[in-house]
């Protein structure tokens, strides 16, 4: 029983991260119908920048409390990733908005490889440890343990999600985003500055990705130039699971995928009589993705889309 609860907690923490990254995919997809392949790498950049800035801060101001260092690192990561997301959209996606569908998709893959290799050249191929500056106390809940970092991840995710829901449903920017998602040309006729809205979407999505990247590296205690690839793939699976283009769906899909993966990895050994072990954890996300695409391609919360010519 306590193992089940432990796996649930781990799954929810992991799922929070997936959800935040999935939001970035789903928002861009909702507006541009583009899978932003580079989003996973933006997340990775967030983690790397945060770790680097924290290292610098600890050298420059050794008596700054650890939580402040972490917050400043997070802030630096969010700003850096927002800038990165903005530049990517302006330089690589905007010129191709009228091109055949395959073109922006291939560009996105190129950007993704580019970012990965730039990160590798700056920070090297080794794992970079996340500085041990955050409190490491463990708490007991029903026989399972949860760390302060994990509690902070869950809390922060809830706050961010609430903020995003408010932004999309209650502000004029949010209304503009929904309008552009429905139809770019009609939104433009109604006086919405479509380019500005798309830029804003990339800014928000990249910012969320940066937060998620910092969370992952804080939770596992390390960052790596290749971490964005698998994270991005899984987050995309989460977005599809929830219904791509649907913001609530991305949140639900992320959390659900985290739990599925965690429980799956915990129990697959028993289920298959020891034939498959927890090294197959990474397969679950793809299995979920394929199953969703086969049985419910519009996802859990998505509407049935009609293909338009």
């Amino acid at each position: 029983m306590d193992i089940l609860i432990q796996q649930l907690i781990n799954g929810l923490v992991l799922g929070s991260v997936y959800a935040l990254v999935a939001l970035g995919y789903t928002m861009v997809y909702g507006i541009l119908e583009l899978i932003n392949f580079a989003h996973g790498e933006v997340t990775m950049m967030g983690a790397m920048v945060a770790v680097a800035v924290m290292g610098m801060l600890m050298g420059a101001a050794p008596d700054l409390p650890g939580v402040w260092v972490a917050l400043l690192g997070l802030l630096a990561a969010v700003s850096a990733c927002m800038a990165l997301g903005y530049v990517i959209e302006r330089a690589a996606y905007r010129p191709l908005r009228q091109a055949p569908r395959l073109a922006p998709l291939i560009t996105a893959i190129g950007i993704s490889i580019l970012l990965q290799n730039i990160a590798m050249m700056i920070w090297g191929k080794q794992y970079i440890p996340f500085p041990r500056i955050l409190p490491e106390a463990r708490h007991n809940i029903l026989g399972a343990s949860i760390t302060d970092v994990q509690i902070a991840i869950l809390g922060l995710t809830l706050v961010i999600m609430a903020g995003l829901v408010w932004l999309v449903n209650r502000t004029s920017l949010g209304r503009a985003m929904r309008a552009v998602a429905q139809s770019k040309s009609v939104a433009q006729l109604m006086g919405v500055d479509v380019n500005k809205v798309i830029s804003a979407t990339f800014l928000i999505g990249s910012g969320l990705g940066a937060v998620a990247g910092v969370m992952v590296s804080a939770n596992y205690g390390q960052a790596h130039y290749y971490m964005g690839f698998l994270l991005g793939l899984k987050a995309f699976s989460a977005a599809v699971l929830g219904g791509i283009g649907n913001i609530a769906g991305a949140m639900l899909g992320g959390l659900l995928l985290g739990v599925i993966e965690s429980l799956g990895a915990g129990y697959i050994g028993d289920l298959t009589g020891g034939f498959l072990g927890s090294q197959y954890q990474d397969v679950f996300a793809f299995a979920v993705l394929i199953l969703v695409l086969v049985f419910r391609p519009s996802g859990l919360l998505g509407e049935k889309g009609v293909e338009r010519a």
């Binding site: 395959l102 073109a103 998709l105 580019l114 793939l233 391609p297």
Partner: protein
């Protein structure tokens, strides 16, 4: 040029002669390792032409293409190595490998091809990773793939008692394994090129292009879009399976490491660079991207001479340049270095939805 156009057989026979002497010239001038480079160039020509059917003709972005290559290679490795003690002859394994790869293509394509193209990119990406994870871990509890160590001592291809893996003296020339494989690969590459050429203007080839340009319109014209897309997928997988088998026999060793995502991306780069859907362009792209990275090695030497140490590992530089090439090609020359006429028009059109 005019001389060749009026007498096409002259150009063709010159080309054939050049291709036949190429390994001998390369061996004498650049060294034996460069013969191997050209062997790989031919393998990549086969792979790129296979992917070209999927991406170039049918417009389906397949990012896990290398998985089919892996399936072909492992099929050969399992059927002709001490792993299971099986040593089937190569004319038996090659069709099996290609068939198994095609089967995987159909398995993957059936659920996903009903969907929009961009989902396919992600699913194939995931599939490529799944295959690699399984190859890496299927060494326990039952040892099938021998895990990360891979399978060694794979039989070389042989015709009767003539093994391509050893040096022989032919017509007074001392030829080694890379030479023989060069001619074997050349033969298969020509076969793949021939099939691609015949497909291009066939009923099926036209249906692929119709689907690429407008799926709904193609369906309205009576094309069974799902089956035709599935055919493209299976056909591409077959070529990859074939190339995979040849790779295993040539290398004598396979491990999951050889089949990572970067390989898929590299093959995609080849067809994007050369010109999607245009056979000469794709061949050019494949040869360029196999030979140029080899030349990049000299960049490492150059750094050592000028800077005293290797600042940037040429192997890393390679991936960086691939990424950059993909982006720049799409932005500035989206139809490729050597585009087909149709593509050129497609990309120069503006205001398309």
């Amino acid at each position: 040029m005019k001389m060749f156009r009026s007498r096409p057989w002259l150009g063709i026979s010159l080309l054939v002669a050049a291709l036949l002497v190429l390994p001998l010239v390369v061996d004498a001038s650049l060294g034996r390792s460069w013969v191997r480079v050209f062997d790989f160039a031919l393998l990549y020509v086969m792979l790129a032409l296979g992917l070209n059917i999927v991406v170039g003709y049918a417009g389906l972005l397949d990012l896990g293409y290398i998985a089919f290559y892996a399936v072909g290679a492992y099929t050969w490795a399992l059927l002709a190595s001490p792993q299971f003690g099986l040593h089937l002859p190569f004319w038996a394994i090659l069709p099996i490998g290609a068939g198994v790869a095609a089967l995987f293509g159909i398995l993957l394509g059936t659920p996903t091809l009903r969907l929009r193209g961009d989902y396919l990119a992600i699913v194939t990406l995931g599939f490529g990773e799944i295959i690699r994870i399984f190859l890496n871990n299927l060494n326990e509890p039952v040892n099938i793939t021998n895990g990360p160590q891979g399978i060694t001592l794979i039989d070389p291809a042989s015709l009767g008692s003539f093994s391509l893996g050893q040096a022989h003296s032919v017509f007074g020339l001392e030829l080694s394994a890379p030479h023989f494989y060069y001619y074997l690969f050349l033969l298969f590459a020509c076969g793949v090129i021939f099939i691609s050429l015949r497909l291009e203007n066939s009923r099926i080839g036209r249906a692929w292009v119709a689907i690429r340009e407008d799926e709904i319109a193609a369906a309205a014209m009576g094309i069974n879009t799902r089956n035709i897309k599935l055919l493209a997928f299976a056909m591409g997988a077959t070529f990859a399976g074939l190339a995979g088998g040849l790779f295993a026999s040539f290398q004598g060793f396979v491990s999951p490491e050889s089949f990572n995502l970067l390989e898929s991306i590299m093959i995609l780069c080849m067809i994007v660079l050369g010109g999607m859907g245009h056979i000469p362009g794709v061949i050019l792209g494949a040869v360029l991207l196999t030979v140029l990275p080899e030349a990049l090695r000299y960049v490492g030497d150059l750094q050592r001479v000028t800077l005293g140490r290797v600042l940037i590992d040429p192997a890393d530089l390679r991936m960086l340049l691939f990424g950059l090439a993909l982006v720049l090609m799409m932005l500035f020359r989206p139809a490729g270095l050597m585009p087909s006429i149709r593509r050129k028009r497609e990309f120069s059109e503006t205001g398309q939805p």
